[in-house]
């Protein structure tokens, strides 16, 4: 009996203790995040804060607030405007770019921004013999692969010489890989520079608590308009359900990449949802070299047979819009407004298939489990399979983990599959078609044209657009290319993703950019 008394009393004490502990401890858990400090829920821990060394959008979101490039995207567009450079001259033949730099700017460490600093940045990335080339690797350095030499003309003028005319150069400079780092900081920290970043941007790096948070603080000496918040904290929260829970509980003020199925939870008071279409396209690569898709009519039939509206609205819950062609509408200046998406028309698809004699053809379809920009690839793949079965194909899905998938798809589909899912996000209308639609970009030639599409007209248009330095001329060439490609249907054009974010009602002036970058300079928080 004694023992029983002991346990009962013990249990009671333990329970009372636990209640006291939880209620005492929870006092501060409900406290809101401090005003003037914006807490952002990110999808992953950044790899590094060295702009030359990273490739992920997740890391770019932090970088663009700490650093600036010579050029940047004009707010709300993908057009280039001056940033650290005030202007530039392009030589007649399009191979020499001379930039005039903005005067009187210092890096956060107090060292001056000048032509030497610009030269240091590009030489570090591109010149194998540069003393700081070993602070890499620099996986995206080929963005500037056309740069043959970077010269200091005078303290505030720098000249790039290209090995051939390359029109996307200006927008590549606006891409995060072109952000300018402080040479003195690279020299001081060498391999650890990525964790001790120094730029010229509206925020300066303050602290990186591994796996918990990256903190940046307002740069009071900023040359432009000062940032609206005192500090921004980027918290990596990998699991999307946990990210949603943090947002609902008030632990973060802003979250990016809200899962489509969770958007409904934020439709009420206290939150606002922001959406912005970006330079993203989700498509199916069709194997145009062999099998049923070697016939253009069957490729068009696939475009008619798939109900893209249903995929976009039901599978993706409205977080994407239907794609019309190979170039996303976010590239407003180069987008062909006249293109209409292939309508959903199974009758027409069946007629085309009958005409081509491809009834009942068996198709092997590569689907990935996930991956950058791939949205919800498995349910999307299943919906596509059902639509294609409905017009008489036999579709066999093979599913792969993302890196394995790339290993299968990038070397080409020949002998393996008839179609594969794919998605791209780019910074210039040149990138994707140039790398994935030219006949010179077949896998064996080092490109991403895994479906072996070839059209001499498209090749010609893309080469011409790359070397034209006049933007209107480039735009005209890209529009023509889009019309030809849409008609040829080397891909099934499925969706353009709209990036989304949710903010609490304490956050003001927040907007997303078509570049998918996250500029937080103007944001305020009460």
């Amino acid at each position: 009996m004694k023992y029983m008394h002991w346990t009962r009393r013990g249990l009671f004490l333990a329970a009372a203790g636990a209640v006291a502990l939880i209620s005492g401890l929870s006092e501060r858990a409900t406290a809101q995040t401090p005003p003037g400090v914006l807490i952002v829920g990110q999808v992953a821990e950044p790899k590094s804060l060295d702009p030359a060394a990273v490739t992920a959008v997740n890391d770019f979101r932090i970088l663009v607030n700490v650093y600036e490039g010579l050029t940047r995207y004009k707010s709300g567009t993908l057009e280039v405007e001056p940033a650290l450079a005030t202007g530039w001259d392009i030589s007649e033949d399009g191979t020499e770019y001379t930039f005039t730099l903005r005067d009187g700017i210092s890096f956060h460490d107090g060292t001056p921004f000048n032509a030497e600093a610009v030269k240091f940045n590009f030489d570090r990335m591109l010149d194998k013999n540069h003393p700081y080339h070993d602070t890499g690797p620099f996986p995206l350095s080929f963005f500037f692969g056309a740069v043959e030499a970077t010269e200091v003309v005078d303290d505030m003028t720098v000249k790039f010489t290209l090995n051939a005319p390359y029109a996307p150069f200006l927008s590549n400079l606006a891409y995060p890989t072109g952000l300018i780092v402080s040479p003195a900081a690279v020299e001081a920290h060498r391999m650890d520079y990525g964790r001790n970043p120094v730029g010229t941007g509206p925020f300066r790096f303050a602290e990186w608590r591994a796996n918990e948070a990256v903190v940046i603080e307002r740069n009071d000496a900023y040359w432009g308009e000062a940032a609206g918040t005192q500090a921004v904290v980027f918290r990596p929260i990998t699991d999307s359900n946990t990210r949603v829970a943090e947002m609902l509980a008030g632990g973060i003020d802003l979250m990016v990449e809200v899962p489509p199925t969770s958007l409904g939870q934020f439709s009420g008071e206290g939150f606002s949802i922001v959406e912005q279409a970006g330079p993203h396209v989700w498509f199916l690569i069709l194997n145009a070299k062999e099998g049923p898709f070697a016939d253009k009519r069957v490729r068009q039939a696939a475009n008619y047979a798939i109900n893209k509206e249903a995929i976009v609205n039901d599978v993706l819950e409205g977080t994407a819009s239907v794609a019309a062609g190979p170039t996303p509408p976010a590239f407003a200046w180069a987008y062909n407004e006249e293109l209409e998406p292939y309508p959903y028309d199974p009758e027409k698809a069946m007629a085309l298939i009958a005409e081509a004699g491809a009834d009942g053809a068996e198709l092997t379809f590569y689907v990935t489990e996930g991956g950058s920009g791939m949205l919800d690839p498995v349910p999307m793949g299943t919906a596509i399979q059902a639509d294609l079965q409905a017009v008489g194909f036999e579709v066999k899905i093979e599913t792969y983990e993302w890196n394995t998938f790339l290993g299968e798809v990038n070397p080409g589909l020949e002998g393996k599959a008839d179609m594969a899912e794919m998605a791209w996000m780019t910074n210039d209308p040149d990138t994707l078609p140039y790398l994935a639609l030219r006949s010179e970009a077949w896998p064996e030639k080092g490109g991403f044209n895994s479906g072996y599409y070839a059209n001499a007209k498209v090749d010609e248009l893309l080469e011409a657009a790359r070397t034209a330095t006049d933007q209107d001329e480039r735009a005209r060439l890209y529009r023509e290319m889009q019309a030809v490609v849409q008609e040829d249907a080397p891909w099934v054009f499925v969706a353009n993703w709209k990036q989304n974010a949710v903010t609490s009602d304490r956050v003001e002036n927040f907007g997303l950019e078509p570049s998918f970058l996250l500029h937080l300079q103007g944001v305020t928080k009460n």
């Binding site: 929870s26 409900t30 829970a245 890196n403 299968e408």
Partner: protein, 315 residues
């Protein structure tokens, strides 16, 4: 005893060696390479080849294995490709967080499990026994990540008593109460299954012992019930409970992966998952070898403790 410990430590060497071979082979043979993972959309054969060269992955596999092993023997675990930091720094930093979580869970499940088992056994088929059995079965059956999400919804989102995720508050945190507040839910979610298993086992071990003659003799001699149970019976039952604790420690450590993901706990499990997805070879290899070594050492410690507890076990 010293000889026994030494013998066990020496026998661990081939085990660890085997682990290095297996983890290296797996990471070398799985499809997809780090360069492709890093480059993503831009993984042209040309770019991949160049980056592989920069990362030192162009050498033959056997050569790479021995370079890695040789470096590791001198304490150099290499640099993580994706984080660009020394592997050992990353692993130690993360392991610390995992130990706090798994350690707390382990203590929780040991105490709660044994306590529940003892109470159950002493009241076999009574109301307390049935109630405990019911709760324990639920604990065993509910996956830890699901339990974790439900805890978050109830205590963090609806009641707002506890923070959703992380290890410390972003602002004004960093002290012990702050850590405990962040630790409560993940530790409970992680301990649930192991508590159930230990409770079931302790119950049957106790029942076995309580039927022994010496227990009856002790009771007949008028020894208090509390002393009979805690002093006489439990001490003996511990001999069969102890090895299970060792096994459960392993489960808690591996189960930490799920809980770390749900609660965004900055531990080694989540690190390994991320590293595998980005094909961060050296980080995966170094991390697995480190965790495996800790597990092997822990098991040796359990065996040694077992010896001390039960002198009949030959050393």
């Amino acid at each position: 005893m010293g000889g026994y410990i030494l013998k066990r430590l020496v026998s661990a060497v081939p085990v660890l060696f085997g682990i290095t071979v297996i983890v290296f082979l797996i990471m070398s043979l799985i499809p997809g390479d780090p360069a492709t993972a890093i480059l993503g959309s831009y993984a042209t054969p040309e770019n991949v080849e160049k980056l592989n060269r920069d990362l030192g992955l162009d050498k033959p596999m056997v050569q790479r294995y021995f370079i890695w092993l040789g470096n590791m023997l001198t304490g150099d675990f290499g640099r993580s490709f994706s984080l660009n930091r020394p592997v050992i720094d990353v692993v130690l930093e993360r392991f610390n967080a995992t130990m706090i979580l798994a350690g707390t869970s382990f203590v929780l499940c040991s105490i709660l499990g044994i306590l529940a088992g003892v109470v159950s056994a002493t009241r076999q088929y009574g109301l307390a026994d049935k109630a405990i059995t019911f709760v324990v079965l639920i604990g065993i059956s509910v996956p830890s990540f699901f339990l974790g999400m439900m805890l978050i919804l109830l205590f963090a989102v609806n009641l707002r008593w506890l923070p959703v995720s992380g290890m410390y508050a972003i602002y004004g945190g960093g002290d012990l109460p702050d850590l405990i507040r962040h630790l409560i839910m993940p530790a409970l979610a992680l301990a649930a299954v192991a508590t159930g298993v230990i409770a079931r086992l302790s119950r049957s071990a106790m029942l076995e012992v309580l039927r022994q003659d010496y227990v009856r003799t002790a009771r007949a001699n008028g020894v208090s019930e509390r002393r009979v149970i805690m002093g006489h019976a439990l001490r003996v039952a511990m001999v069969s409970i102890f090895p299970v604790l060792g096994i459960q420690a392993g489960f808690v450590l591996s189960g930490a992966v799920y809980v770390e993901i749900v609660f965004q706990w900055p531990g080694v499990g989540r690190m390994l998952v991320d590293a595998i997805l980005t094909r961060d070879l050296l980080l995966v290899q170094g991390g697995v070898v480190f965790v495996a070594a800790c597990y092997v050492l822990f098991n040796i410690a359990v065996d040694v403790a077992q010896c001390l507890l039960d002198p009949r076990i030959k050393t």
